[in-house]
Amino acid sequence: MKIPDSPAQIMETLPSVKTDRLPLFLLPALALVALPLIGSFSTWVTLTFAGLAMGMIIFIIASGLTLVFGLMDVMNFGHGVFITLGAFIAVSVLGRMAGFTESPSLVRNLIAVVPAMLAAMVAAGALGLVFERIIIRPVYGQPLKQIMITMGGMIVAVELIKVIWGAQAIPLPLPEAFKGSLLFGETAIEKYRLIAVVVGLVIFAMLFWILSRTKVGLLIRAGVHDREMVESLGYRIGRLFIGVFVAGSALAGLGGVMWGLYQQSVTPEMGGAINVLLFIVIIIGGMGSIGGCFLGALMVGLVNNYAGFLAPKVALISNILLMVIVLLWRPQGIYPAGKA
């Protein structure tokens, strides 16, 4: 048997680092294709911004859902309830701080909005903890029951929300300083959309930092890939999962506040309605992939707004079309989360 002279022999050259950049061009491509269809540049900018804002909010809501799926193969069909709860908490908090929201001062507005968001996140996170414990825990690894039980959990929770806040739609006006648009030449950009985009980017950056730079983030990424190995290395994936679930619920609560402000009204059914968009986003992005989720959310946001302008009747169909096209291209979604 031949014994190698030096360790150098085992060092074959590595293939060059191939990152999958192609999907990154999808967004600009989408936007560019829409430009000639829409015709007017300023309308296009407005729509693009609206689409990005919507996409950012959807991303905030969907990020937890996709991570939870990646980590434990759990798809929570009741995720929408965290959105609804967050929005209603915001109604209650902002309603009590009318003096602050009606003031034209941005600082005073923020004094009301930031606590509302935090309260919504805490409430949605707490509900998430309860949900994980009593709804999802008993049905790990049973997809059929999981679908039914999470659906059932949402029905019950939405009914309870109706018990507390009533079944009617409640207006959620934007704080004064958030209203109106900024004018750049011909182009008007609504201030709130700008805020939504900024908040979305901040959340994305934070998630990205946590996932790539912290040990918890490494554990989550490793857990999505190979749950057993993470356990064999001595980490309790169950605890990690609860943490991600609660954080994801809290983010959905935050998204609920932002969505409620975007719509300027909240209803008990709002969460269930967004669920459909969330699923489309997650499927497009590749179930379990946070980067795919981000791209998918922005694409859905853009397509929604472009289609809403070009052909209002098919706006929702356009999402399905987008999903079908993406799946025909990549059957596992844009970035399939690698399962070992």
Binding site: M1, M11, E12, L14, P15, V17, L218, R221, M229
Partner: protein, 245 residues
């Protein structure tokens, strides 16, 4: 004679409706390498997974350092000091080599907190790791992945390593590298339970040997005895060294 580090007594394991282990008895002595041999489907991998708690033993006891561990969860078993290198190596392909190592170092929250001396020692054992430190582990070759998997298991001192078929699918020259690395590892008094199909590989390293068939250990003894007795090899493994090397 000292106490065994790990002891299995009458371990049964079911996977779903299938009864895989039918009463495994096995002793692993401290500081030695015990090799688990046997044909495909004999229950070797299941034995390792059962020790690690990835599948629960339905009967019998598993004792590690005098403590019964068969009812513990996998992370708790890992915390007792068992490290596991599965057959598929369990490399996190999206993470870099460095991140893979960091995850295995339970006491380090950050790269800087990893034991630099030990890292240097590991780089000496497996130089490829240093070269590709910042590369995604998925890009490594099969042999490099195996080395990463072993290095990951011993990034912090662990009293017992469970390694499942490290030679599988590797070229002979790579296997030889692995053998020298394991030899050096043995100098550090690390106890190893190795599952192997490749008897040639096993006989160069093993102190003791246990042969499994049909979910039971059918022979246990010293490696030297088995190497010296071709009749026994014929009987247990259906092969002889002559026909193999």
């Amino acid at each position: 004679m000292s106490e065994p580090l790990l002891k299995l007594e009458g371990v049964h394991t079911h996977i779903g409706a299938y009864h895989i282990l039918h009463g495994v008895d096995l002793e692993v002595m401290p500081g030695e390498m015990t090799v688990l041999l046997g044909r495909n489907g004999a229950g070797k991998t299941t034995t390792l997974r059962t020790i690690m708690g990835l599948w629960k033993a339905t009967a019998g006891t598993i004792t590690f350092r005098g403590e019964a561990i068969q009812a513990l969860d996998t992370p708790d078993i890992a915390h007792r000091g068992l490290a596991y290198v599965p057959e598929n190596m369990g490399i996190f392909a999206d993470l870099t080599v460095c991140e893979n190592m960091l995850l295995a170092a339970r006491n380090a929250r950050h790269i800087d907190q990893m034991d630099a001396k030990r890292l240097d020692w590991l780089f000496g054992l497996f130089p490829a790791l240093k070269t590709f430190w910042q590369h995604p582990a998925g890009l490594l070759s099969g042999g490099q992945k195996q080395m990463l998997a072993v290095a990951r298991a011993i990034i912090e001192p662990r009293p017992l390593l469970l390694i499942d078929e490290p030679s599988k699918g590797l070229a002979p020259s790579i296997i030889q590298n692995l053998i020298s690395a394991f030899r050096e590892l043995k100098q550090t008094e690390t106890t190893i339970l190795l599952v192997e199909q490749n008897f040639n590989f096993a006989r160069q390293l093993g102190d003791r040997v246990a042969v499994m068939d049909d979910g039971r250990v059918v022979h246990a003894g010293s490696m030297a005895d088995l190497v010296g007795d071709e009749g026994l090899q014929q009987k247990l493994l259906g092969l002889s060294l002559a026909s193999h090397s």
